[in-house]
């Protein structure tokens, strides 16, 4: 389990990976060829991974998302130190905040 600012990356056991995720094509990469785990609307700052891998969006606008890194990878962000991730599957969770009556997503 790794935290970079408002994003938590949780290792997922091989047997817990949904079958449809293994076959899915995954999200498009951004203009710089990166997988974007979360994007700040105004600054454009992103939690992102360059190397090989796939990001698969599950239900809901902000995920959870699944991340597959067959060779491991490195998550970078403009305001946070990079984090190295071993190869494998991960669940990507965006931080949220309690609002009476609802819940809202945090963006840093």
């Amino acid at each position: 389990m790794y935290r970079q600012g408002d994003v938590l990356i949780v290792a997922l056991a091989e047997h817990a990976v949904p079958e449809h995720a293994r076959a899915a094509m995954g999200e498009k990469r951004d203009g710089r060829g990166r997988l974007v785990l979360a994007l700040g609307e105004v600054t454009g700052h992103a939690h992102a991974i360059a190397g090989p891998g796939r990001l698969i969006r599950e239900a809901g606008a902000f995920g959870p998302m699944l991340l597959h890194l067959p060779e491991g990878g490195r998550v970078v962000h403009e305001e946070h130190a990079a984090i190295g991730l071993p190869k494998g599957w991960y669940r990507v969770v965006r931080q949220r905040e309690y609002v009476p009556g609802s819940v809202r997503v945090v963006a840093d």
Binding site: M1, L8, A24, M25, A81, A82, D108
Partner: protein, 348 residues
């Protein structure tokens, strides 16, 4: 949860490489000549004669006032032919090519996120125009109908991003207007087109947000105020400058009180209220503010592990459910986890 994503859902459809997020958020005057050319092209694509006149207005409110003033005779609305028809045809074509699952995967990969963001701004503008222009019920009905005739210019960006809008394609005219202008009203004889706003202020999540002025402002003075997406009045924002902890405690509207607390600063409020932390551990500090007649505000104070350029560590505050008992439980909740599971190996 039964969505079936398969290898056949590859999104190989060409979309025009244009930064549609930037289009949706653009401010200031665009290229009027290019916008007008886009309007004429959209009429031509729809099989209509070009409009006799193209009239500019400074804001959606100004356009609505012009169209209800009786000073122009624009003819029948042609939004259906100019926008909806070509869009429906393109959508059907793409849907046939990709299938239902493929189409929804394509939409998620292109316009879906931007749609949510832009739509909330569009709804605010609609409500703001109705507020500012409506008088009696009859006029309000007239304005609501008129708003349905509008093509949303730059605010069409989300769905346009899912299609090929390069020159020669059915949506090229609508896309060309979107790249240069705000909302526009196509009628048989006249098209009324509006300038983009002069100012747009949003928070990192993309919601309208500004503490010291309008979050959205047009050249004619049509403005909208908002705090982290929540509509507020100019008077309320002004009142924030002279806030006191007592004034915050006395506010009866829970949403406005939340805005007051955010503006004033949780840390400052806690200091001035002599608050004591509920709990402290290596994940952060848990605080509580008791409020009369409302549930307690319970917050975790979290520290970023990467220092800022000046060497300081940025602290941020997240509200958590009032039942939270420990800082770890609070931070774990913000990631949807239980306190017993939350254990980052590394954090930055």
């Amino acid at each position: 949860m039964t969505r079936n994503l398969s290898a056949t859902t590859e999104t190989s459809i060409e979309t025009t490489p244009r930064d549609w997020r930037a289009v949706a958020a653009a401010t200031g005057s665009g290229d009027r000549t290019a916008a007008e050319a886009g309007v004429r092209l959209a009429y031509t694509r729809a099989g209509l004669a070009e409009p006799e006149r193209i009239v500019w207005a400074a804001s959606p409110l100004a356009a609505v006032e012009l169209l209800t003033s009786g000073s122009i005779a624009p003819g029948a609305p042609v939004r259906e032919a100019v926008r909806n028809g070509p869009w429906a045809a393109e959508r059907a074509r793409l849907h046939t090519a990709l299938g239902t699952n493929g189409y929804s995967a394509h939409w998620r990969a292109t316009g879906a996120d931007l749609w949510d963001l832009t739509n909330s701004v569009v709804e605010r503008i609609r409500a703001g125009v109705i507020d500012a222009a409506a008088g009696d019920r009859k006029r309000e009905r007239q304005i609501r109908v008129l708003l349905l005739d509008a093509v949303l210019g730059q605010h069409e960006a989300a769905w346009l991003s899912a299609y090929d809008t390069a020159p020669g394609h059915p949506l090229d005219g609508v896309a060309a207007v979107a790249a240069q202008a705000g909302w526009w009203w196509p009628y048989a004889k006249v098209a009324v087109i509006t300038e983009r706003p002069l100012e747009l202020h949003r928070d990192e999540a993309g919601r309208l947000d500004r503490g010291d002025g309008p979050a959205l402002a047009y050249a004619d003075g049509f403005v909208l105020h908002a705090w982290r997406g929540m509509p507020v009045t100019a008077e309320f924002l002004d009142s924030l400058r002279s806030l006191t902890p007592q004034r915050i405690r006395e506010e009866e509207n829970a949403e406005l009180r939340r805005v007051m607390l955010e503006y004033y600063g949780y840390d400052r409020y806690l200091t001035e209220s002599d608050a004591r932390p509920l709990h402290r551990d290596e994940t952060g500090i848990l605080w509580r503010i008791a409020l009369d007649g409302d549930e307690d505000v319970v917050m975790v104070e979290v520290v970023n592990s990467t220092p800022e350029p000046d060497g300081a560590y940025r602290t941020y505050w997240l509200r958590v459910p009032p039942t939270t008992r420990t800082a770890r439980e609070g931070v774990a909740w913000t990631f949807g986890l239980g306190a017993d599971i939350y254990e980052p190996l590394q954090q930055t």
